[in-house]
């Protein structure tokens, strides 16, 4: 797993993309932000945390609930 991670990081850092600040018109759209719908994400995490054995991934592991 660590190998995959390091490979991915290395790939990114070699600069496979070079998008200039003024070319960020699309990336700057709110729906392209990773936190486009923060409450939706929090609600999903909470539901799946209480119903499944896995949690987190997108961010920290969620939890803080007696539901699991």
């Amino acid at each position: 797993m660590k190998a995959i991670w390091l490979a991915a990081a290395a790939l990114a850092l070699t600069g496979c993309a070079n998008v200039e600040p003024w070319q960020r018109d699309v990336l700057a759209r709110p729906e392209m932000s990773p936190d486009a719908a923060p409450l939706d994400g929090a609600i999903d995490d909470h539901i799946y945390f209480s119903k499944e054995a896995s949690s987190g991934g997108r961010g920290f592991g969620g939890g803080g609930c007696g539901c699991n």
Binding site: E20, P21, W22, R24, D25, A28
Partner: protein, 305 residues
């Protein structure tokens, strides 16, 4: 302000740094911190823009500061009744000041400077005597001046200063020169809180300008998104007189020689040019408690505190 800035050392007084998505250039002019924000550009271009804006600010400061030995204003103030011939730029500023006096029904006047001998705006309650003011008021009033472009004759004892005009004019001049240098590039010119932007940014994002709160100097309380145009703020956060519970601003009403009372602590106006915005803040403040009514009537976008 008091030590002259030799242009040879100018480069040392400039700082240019990379910020997220833009360049930030800084220098000091007209006794206040100045800042130039330049959207993504080559470093050499950003440096030239910063130099151009700073040279412009320093030139105007040198030429029009009433504290400067060699300034035009000092030459005029020391003329003691003798006719003085002025250059085009000075003449344009004098014409503009005369218009403001007319538009403000003589509340605004560039000859009120002598009254500062009596008023010290240090937050105390020291107030000059009416006799003292009356004596000084003899030397106040644009109508006492003989102005026939390009010749100006002040009465002996009279003085002028371009406070309330000069800095805003410098911002617009710098914006013009930067536009000539890099047409279409979005730059934010900020001379001590007076701001101008000629072009919107290519990434569509606005420049974010913090508007200083009057009673909390240094901390931004309002954030204004500026795509293009200008903002000017007049405030008395540090300069005021408190007397019998009333707060008098440092802006003097030329008709009475007294500071304006009950004016908003700070007035920010948005307009097409910084000169227009600055004029509106000054005129509004001169209306004291009726500042907001004045601004409403002007139709300009404003923020009061």
């Amino acid at each position: 302000m008091k030590d002259p800035v030799p242009s040879v050392s100018a480069a040392q007084r400039l700082s240019l740094s990379r910020s997220p998505g833009h360049w930030t250039g800084r220098f000091t002019a007209m006794a206040c911190p100045c800042e130039i924000l330049i959207e993504a550009a080559q470093e050499t271009l950003a440096a030239r823009i910063l130099e151009t804006a700073a040279e412009c600010a320093w030139r105007i400061e040198k030429k029009f500061s009433r504290y400067r030995r060699e300034s035009v204003v000092q030459r005029i103030n020391e003329s003691a009744g003798q006719p003085i011939e002025v250059d085009d730029e000075t003449a344009n500023l004098l014409d503009f000041a005369a218009t403001l006096t007319r538009l403000s029904e003589r509340r605004f006047d560039i000859t009120t400077g002598v009254l500062r001998k009596a008023w010290t705006f240090d937050g105390s309650d020291r107030v000059p005597s009416q006799d003292q003011l009356d004596a000084l008021l003899k030397c106040v009033g644009w109508h006492k001046v003989l102005w026939r472009r390009p010749t100006l004759v002040l009465q002996p004892g009279m003085q002028i200063d371009f406070g309330g005009i000069g800095k805003e004019y410098a911002v617009d001049e710098a914006a013009r020169l930067v536009e000539d240098l890099a047409p279409g590039l979005s730059c934010l010119i900020n001379f001590g809180g007076d701001v101008a932007v000629r072009n919107p940014r290519r990434d569509g994002a606005p420049w974010r300008v913090g508007v200083e709160a009057a009673d909390n100097a240094g901390a931004a309380v309002r954030l204004v998104h500026l795509q293009r145009g200008a903002l000017a703020t007049s405030g008395d956060s540090r300069r005021f007189v408190l007397r019998e519970g009333r707060r008098y601003s440092h802006i003097l009403d030329a008709r009475t020689g007294w500071p304006v009372s009950d004016a908003p602590r700070s007035v920010t106006v948005a307009a097409d040019t910084c000169t227009q915005a600055g004029t509106l803040t000054t005129l509004a403040t001169l209306h004291g408690a009726k500042a907001e009514a004045f601004l409403k009537k002007s139709g300009a976008q404003y923020w009061l505190h």
